[in-house]
């Protein structure tokens, strides 16, 4: 497909949702990059959309620092993070994905993390990423309800 053709299919703000849906098709243990540190992996696998400081791009990309740290208070919140389509399908193995999530939570959401936060491990990533979320918004609202927050 040409660049212009793909661009047309991604207009009206649905592009990144389409990206998430298409991510489900990616082999989940593919790994073709050299081993990099979590901050470099953040740049290579997240920063393109989430920007260097994790801030939101309104209407397109949610903020990392906005709520994901609070989500770590409940098991469903941890599950939500691992099963996000672009996390589940990232081109990193389970251990590097765990290290990346632990790094970005401390980098962008340290003040919101529960005191007893347990870092992600490879086994937890492996168990979750094989069941990517289909209804991302529904899962998000469910976690918000469990935290006693108004779903939004």
């Amino acid at each position: 497909m040409s660049r212009a053709g793909i661009a047309r299919s991604l207009r009206r703000g649905r592009g990144l949702l389409a990206a998430g849906a298409l991510a489900l098709l990616v082999p989940q243990r593919a790994r073709d990059a050299a081993a990099f540190s979590p901050d470099v992996n953040y740049a290579l696998h997240c920063q393109g959309c989430h920007l260097a400081d994790g801030r939101a791009t309104p209407g397109l990309v949610p903020a990392i620092d906005g709520e994901i740290g609070r989500f770590m208070r409940v098991r469903e919140g941890r599950d939500y993070l691992i099963r996000l389509p672009n996390v589940a399908a990232t081109q990193l193995d389970d251990a590097d994905t765990a290290a990346l999530l632990n790094w970005l939570l401390r980098r962008f959401a340290a003040s919101e993390l529960p005191a007893d936060f347990q870092p992600f491990g490879a086994a937890e990533i492996a168990a979750g990423r094989h069941q990517p979320l289909v209804d991302v918004e529904g899962a998000r609202r469910n976690v918000q309800r469990l935290l006693g927050e108004k779903p939004g």
Binding site: L10, V26, V40, T57, Q91
Partner: protein
């Protein structure tokens, strides 16, 4: 003049006259110049340190060191028109266009030092296609079903306009 302004006025006059007696205009200008030069250098220092590890591209012979060439080392996965040929540079958009904050990011090896660098391929948006220096290189690029690693996509997200003009290759740091 109010009661509190008069003593202040006298004090200012005394200090100024004293300063004029004890210093020449030339020395004052020299000191001012020193401060201005020093101040101009200050904001550059962190930037200079940040890029200290990046070798001078002029040391790279041939097209791999030419920012207007598709073979330029930073362009190892670019798809589009090089902004260096369109009124911008390898890392800056031409005037009148807006750099998309959302983009895709990969790595390119610098032949000058053999290091892999993290490179952000940002589209410059808000004008019609530049149509100069069209390049298509695909090192580390993925098919369209891995959209966040695909360079065929029009990456004008979060910009006022979705019209792409050209693309830049911004070096973010060493990949290690």
């Amino acid at each position: 003049m109010s009661a509190w302004q008069a003593p202040l006025d006298r004090l200012t006059e005394r200090v100024t006259r004293g300063l004029a007696r004890s210093t020449s205009r030339r020395s004052a200008l020299a000191r001012l110049g020193t401060w201005l030069v020093g101040a101009a250098g200050l904001p550059l220092l962190p930037v200079a340190r940040g890029y200290a590890a990046l070798p001078d591209d002029a040391r790279i012979a041939g097209d791999a060191g030419d920012p207007t060439s598709c073979d330029y080392w930073r362009n190892c996965a670019i798809d589009g028109f090089l902004c260096a040929c369109c009124g911008g540079t390898a890392s800056a958009c031409p005037p009148g266009t807006e750099m998309s904050p959302i983009t895709w990011i990969g790595t390119c090896r610098n032949p000058a030092d053999g290091n892999d660098y993290v490179v952000s391929y940002n589209d410059c948006c808000g004008s019609t296609l530049c149509l100069r220096c069209q390049c298509l290189r695909t090192e580390g690029e993925k098919p369209p079903y891995v959209l966040w690693k695909n360079n065929s996509l029009l990456w004008c997200f979060g910009t006022k306009s979705r019209a792409v003009h050209c693309s830049v290759s911004v070096v973010l740091g060493i990949a290690k």
